[in-house]
């Protein structure tokens, strides 16, 4: 069969790193092709080259057998390449229709010919089963629907090749199932799909062929039917990975945090957390499952002291801390890995050191009479880099030079090294590679076994289910269900996450 996309010997160097080293990618026409690899393996760079964001230093791109050059995304779109980004490129206050035709507006004289656009879009919707309300505003849509809009947008621009960058990262189990159906339909109608991900289970479920990358080189070209998770993870990471985590027996100790009847308002002044009560004991991991935007953010911010509480009470180590400042809570033994590390937890343009010392810079012996001891802070940050396996030659480099996984390790090192009593870990493994996931999961369990209390908030149900001793499900600001380890399967929890069910019993 003919190749839709051929990338031959692509090399792309960035200062200090070779992102792609003589990488070749062959994607057959009408294929769902998985491109997998850890973060920093070079898959995003490769796709950015294909989509015209960056130019390769050397190498040849062939589309449908013809050699071309893609200088910009505009050219890529003309050539029939569509990309669905991990972070959706949509205007929240425009309607679905407006977003789709943005950049390619059918005109009737000087006016926008909405009718012609609707006809074309409806045809796409019908033939690919991508149902959506064209007049809804983007801000009203769920994450899965937004993704659908992105796919329609690409098809509207006559894409023959679709690149999907980590499409399942933010979806619920049922939304993932729907996406898979859509992808199959696209394939049936002759579209070629490149599916970028690091989640192996989905890769095996969806794709036909696979290209595995590690550290800028291709480590494997496989047919999906002939491989398994084991082989794939070895190709991705370069060694055998043990995703089963050894855990000590569940022995909860004293109550560390107790939240009673907590109410919190969101920034848009809507009640985001409604009358929530729960507690976490030492030596216990409590997982909070739920689709994003169901009040988890506000709950975390309320507990960590970053937002005001409307009602209810938070007790930490038996003390009411409603009015405590962030710093006071931290000094009492609270630590917090924020869900959006770049927005809240890190400063990209500061050095790695500056990011690591956030909890120490004002304390003795690092700071005396407001004067910092830069030497001591430097050796502290070097020590943390070593201890937490942050890969950098020197912590005086800018944080922006690190990969996503290493950035997360910076946050993790900073928050865990202060020896907290309670660790709030929100999306601790979002967008990090398998190696780092393994590392962070092991460390979290290690903390639990040492008798720390851990509140794990994650959109990844797998993560919640494998780590948590107890699982709470949040839906629309309420806790709607509680399970002990092993009490419920993915499907059951998924039902509660979607609000289809609700437990009536009181939750402790």
């Amino acid at each position: 069969m003919a190749y839709a996309v051929e990338l031959l010997d692509i090399t792309k160097k960035f200062p200090g790193v070779v992102a792609d080293d003589n990488v070749s990618l062959f994607v057959e026409q009408g294929d769902i092709h998985g491109l997998i690899g850890e973060n920093g393996a070079g898959k995003s760079t490769l796709m950015n080259i294909l989509y015209g964001y960056t130019q390769p230093d050397s190498g040849v791109i062939k589309l449908f057998g013809e050699e071309t050059k893609i200088q910009s995304p505009h050219v890529a779109i003309q050539q029939g390449i569509g990309m669905v980004h991990q972070h959706y490129m949509l205007m929240p206050n425009l309607t679905v229709l407006q977003n789709i035709i943005l950049g390619r507006v059918p005109k009737k004289g000087l006016l926008i010919d909405e009718k012609a656009a609707k006809v074309k879009i409806n045809k796409i919707i019908e033939s690919f089963q991508l149902h959506i309300d064209l007049n809804a505003r983007i801000s009203q849509l769920s994450v899965g629907q937004k993704q659908r809009v992105e796919i329609i947008k690409a098809l509207y621009r006559d894409a023959r090749i679709l690149i999907l960058d980590e499409p399942t990262a933010v979806l619920t189990p049922s939304e993932i199932d729907k996406l898979i159906l859509v992808l199959r339909e696209l394939k049936n109608q002759g579209k070629t799909i490149i599916f970028i991900t690091h989640k192996l289970r989905e890769v095996l479920a969806v794709t036909d062929n696979l290209t595995v990358m590690r550290k800028g080189v291709v480590t494997g070209r496989l047919t999906t039917k002939e491989t398994d998770t084991h082989e794939l993870s070895r190709l991705m990471v370069g060694r055998d990975i043990d995703l089963r985590i050894p855990m000590a027996d569940y022995q909860p100790g004293e109550e560390v945090i107790k939240v009673s009847n907590l109410s919190v308002f969101s920034k848009r002044n809507l009640q985001a957390v409604k009358d929530v009560s729960f507690s976490i004991k030492s030596g216990e991991i409590v997982g909070i499952a739920g689709v994003e935007g169901n009040g988890q953010t506000e709950l975390i911010e309320a507990i960590s002291g970053m937002t005001r509480i409307e009602g209810g009470e938070i007790q930490f180590m038996g003390e009411k801390i409603n009015k405590f400042s962030v710093r006071r809570r931290r000094e009492k033994g609270m630590s917090h890995i924020p869900e959006d590390r770049l927005k809240i937890g890190l400063s990209k343009s500061c050095t790695i050191r500056d990011n690591l010392i956030l909890n120490w810079y004002y304390k003795k012996p690092y700071c005396k009479a407001s004067v910092l001891d830069n030497g001591k802070l430097q050796s502290l940050s070097e020590k943390l880099c070593k201890e937490y396996q942050i890969k950098t030659p020197d912590s005086r480099y800018k944080l922006g030079t690190l990969s996503g996984g290493n950035m997360q390790k910076v946050v993790f090192a900073r928050e865990v090294s202060s020896d907290p009593r309670l660790l709030i870990a929100a999306q601790p493994t979002r967008g990090v590679d398998i190696g780092a996931i393994e590392y962070i999961h092991h460390k979290i369990v290690e903390l639990r076994d040492k008798g720390k209390a851990i509140m794990l908030v994650s959109a990844e149900l797998d993560e919640i289910m494998s780590l948590s001793d107890r699982i709470l499900v949040m839906y629309e600001g309420c806790i709607v269900a509680q399970f002990r380890r092993g009490e419920a399967d993915q499907q059951t929890i998924g039902m509660y996450m979607m609000g289809a069910k609700k437990q009536e019993a009181g939750i402790v």
Partner: protein, 365 residues
């Protein structure tokens, strides 16, 4: 990281800024020749400034360095203090009022008292927008800017009313001459230029600010909050407190400029005595990449430029406003900084295409 890599970085930055200056002066020269003036008068003026009129350069750069510092402190914390001019007026007015009230005594003590009072006045005036921002979330860009006009009019009122020189026959809008013992000493070697020991104050201020930035708790908090305010809140800092502190420092530095202008240059409080140091300070800080040490260099450069403009106007037909054009071009080029990497990309792409073509021709044969 090798020990010399940071030095290389600094050299690179300096080179880039010099290139920027060269481009701006080149464009201004072009402008001059197109409009029929002596095209090389800026360069001549600047050359004279360095060779034979160092004094004037020092006189102008004192204010510019301090203003650049005042801007830089707030920029680092992502706050805009556009009210430096107003704070200069308040500092100058307070120092003049104190000088006229002081009894005859030691010059050292009187000048110290004036410096302190002037800095306090600038600081208090900067506190108004700072507190408005902290308590009412007022946009400081607007509030600081508007407070300038109040300060200018306030000084005008003072020198045409309560503080006007009663002995003056011409009724100038100016106060009485300050008594001799309240003058800030001028630099002897530069006599008779108004270059004064304020320049040393400026250098000391640079050292103090650099120390604050790189060696203190406050400097670290400014850095974190300035690059990601969310991170500051999350780490338990108090961004509001930092806002107030930063505005205080900025206002105090501005007040110091006022004291120097009044007590060392004019020797009286004059209507509109401030030659727009505040806004030029923004350019000084921008050119120095908000680096306190770099501000000395860029302050000296703009001091020289301004002096060149004035000298030029005296000797040739060229209007001194041409220096404003140079400044404007510097601002434009800095704000359009993204253009340089872009142009570099285009050149690289062209090169790549060239390399590509023969290859392809070869394969087709």
């Amino acid at each position: 990281m090798k020990w010399y890599s940071s030095i290389i970085d600094v050299c690179k930055t300096i080179l880039r800024q010099i290139l920027l200056i060269a481009v701006s002066i080149g464009l201004a020269t072009l402008f001059l020749s197109v409009s029929g003036y002596e095209p090389f008068s800026i360069l001549q003026g600047m050359w004279k400034g360095v060779t034979s009129d160092l004094a004037s350069m020092v006189r102008w750069s004192t204010g510019l360095i301090l203003a650049g510092l005042a801007v830089c402190v707030t920029f680092k914390a992502e706050i805009w203090n556009l009210g430096i001019d107003g704070q200069i007026y308040m500092g100058g007015a307070a120092a003049a009022a104190l000088a006229l009230a002081l009894p005859e005594g030691s010059q050292f003590l009187s000048v110290s008292a004036m410096v302190i009072v002037g800095m306090l006045a600038g600081m208090l005036y900067a506190m108004i927008p700072a507190l408005l921002k902290v308590f009412f979330e007022t946009n400081e860009v607007v509030s600081t800017l508007l407070l300038n006009f109040i300060a200018i009019r306030f000084v005008e009122y003072l020198v045409s009313g309560p503080m006007q020189d009663p002995t003056s026959i011409t009724k100038l809008n100016a106060s009485q001459k300050l008594p001799l013992w309240t003058w800030i000493p001028r630099l002897k070697i530069f006599d008779p230029s108004p270059a004064n020991i304020g320049f040393y104050f400026a250098i000391v201020a640079v050292i103090i600010i650099a120390f604050v930035f790189y060696k203190t708790k406050l400097g670290y908090e400014i850095k974190i909050i300035g690059t990601n305010a969310n991170l500051g809140v999350y780490g338990g800092m108090k961004p509001k407190w930092v806002t107030v502190m930063v505005m205080c420092i900025s206002g105090a530095l501005a007040g110091l400029i006022g004291v120097i202008e009044v007590a060392a240059v004019q020797h009286r409080l004059i209507n509109a005595f401030n030659p727009d140091f505040g806004f030029d300070g923004i350019v000084v800080s921008l050119l120095a990449n908000n680096n306190p040490v770099g501000i000395i260099l860029s302050g000296l450069f703009f001091g020289n430029l301004r002096n060149a403009g004035i000298a030029m106007e005296r000797v040739t037909e060229t209007p001194s406003a041409i220096t404003d054009i140079v400044m404007a071009i510097v601002i434009l080029t800095i704000t359009a900084n993204f253009a340089i990497p872009r142009i570099r990309n285009i050149i690289k792409r062209k090169k790549m295409n060239k390399e590509f073509t023969p290859n392809r021709a070869g394969s087709e044969n």
